[in-house]
Symmetry: C2
Subunit: 242 residues, 2 copies
């Protein structure tokens, strides 16, 4: 665990990447994408448990996840920890660092993962030249704001089982967009990480999963999860206000 991050890096081509419809190059022409290629480098594999960046690190780049799975978390002074997100291929992380030129959370690989490094200064330069890139960068930043506010809604107003249902539906939908099964997937994180993300204790997560299973909405065995009724989960999410 926590092996040092690899140093070797190689040129990447957004132009040939199968995530380009999902990732940074959205809405760019082929010529524009080759401009992006110039500034992005692929970093070697981050092994399970290794740290992409840490709170306090100087901010220099955004990272596009090429393969794998990450979590981001903040720790406050007294050691309290909060998982702020789980990120998968095609998603972009590191935006917390732009404000103060310093990262404010840790990003940890939850499985062996590859990322593309996007030096932020150069991205800003290029996005002044390419309006569609500028526009998309703004959308990505705004999307993160909207995402966070929906988690606030979840944390502030839903009960345990609803939070779990919302979490599973969110994962499902993101897997679907990537061409994976929306109803059958592996959880990449522990119950305690899910709990931290959802503002619950791990025992509560475990019980809520068991209960959803009793209700025939899911099958769960360790990290393998099968959704038996997407619509059932949906309704279990919105049943009553707290």
């Amino acid at each position: 665990m926590h092996k040092p991050a690899p140093n070797n890096s190689l040129k990447t081509a957004c132009s040939t990447c199968n995530l380009r419809e999902l990732c940074l190059p959205v809405n760019l022409s082929n010529i524009e994408i080759t401009r992006l290629d110039d500034l992005i480098t692929r970093k070697g594999v981050y092994r399970h448990g290794s740290i992409l960046y840490r709170s306090g690190d100087k901010f220099q780049a955004l990272y596009a996840i090429r393969t794998g799975f990450f979590k981001t978390q903040i720790l406050n002074e007294d050691g309290r920890e909060q998982v702020t997100g789980f990120q998968m291929a095609g998603e972009i992380i590191g935006m917390d660092g732009i404000n103060s030129d310093t990262h404010t959370c840790d990003a940890v690989a939850l499985e062996d993962s590859e990322v593309c490094e996007i030096p932020f200064g150069r991205l800003e330069d290029l996005s002044r030249e390419l309006p569609p890139l500028q526009r998309h960068l703004h959308r990505i930043l705004s999307r993160e704001i909207v995402r966070d506010q929906n988690i606030m809604l979840l944390l502030g107003s839903m009960r345990a089982e609803e939070r779990l249902a919302a979490f599973l539906l969110n994962l499902s939908q993101r897997f679907a967009v990537r061409g994976y099964s929306p109803t059958s997937f592996q959880l990449r994180m522990t119950r305690q990480e899910i709990g931290s993300y959802l503002g619950l204790k791990l025992e509560t997560v475990s019980r809520a999963l068991s209960h959803l299973q009793e209700s025939k909405l899911i099958n769960v065995r360790n990290r393998s999860l099968e959704i038996l009724s997407l619509s059932g989960l949906q309704t279990s999410m919105g049943k009553r206000a707290r």
Copy 2:
């Protein structure tokens, strides 16, 4: 309540605005600021209770608060509501709308307020010409992300009284930056709005305030709040994990 928004608008000058060190023009030269002046219009007064924008509205502009106080809130399908923030002079709202060209929350004036409208397309154009403006826009977006993640920490890991303490300290600090007393101010929102923001019921907010008062950390009477010990509040915020 909910008076229609005023239609009259007039030219504004960031150059002569006393909030320019706090607001959008940060780090711009005088010449650059006059470029900003060109695209910003001041909208008339939004009366207490009136709505600046609503979830579902087409996104066209960001708004800088010139005077007054707003709340933003999201409502999910089943009518559950979550206050996602309270905004004061010099702060910028509307960034939720960039992602999908549609606002995803409501912004409501909590007292009579004035805002400056910043058409977003023109802001993007100008920020391609002025790197310091581009940079600052990115910082503002990132700051919002960091802010939201800190609220996630609060909602996910603090108990009622700690949340209240964190909330009051945050207000205090923002008043201080604006030259107001950090220890004596008016709450602009109801207990129920505070509760929604903090993921608590209004009765719990009321009890927690009473208890902080018993502990001699604050004096509160209706909406007037006096902080008796900033450091005491600070420690009451970080006592134990949940």
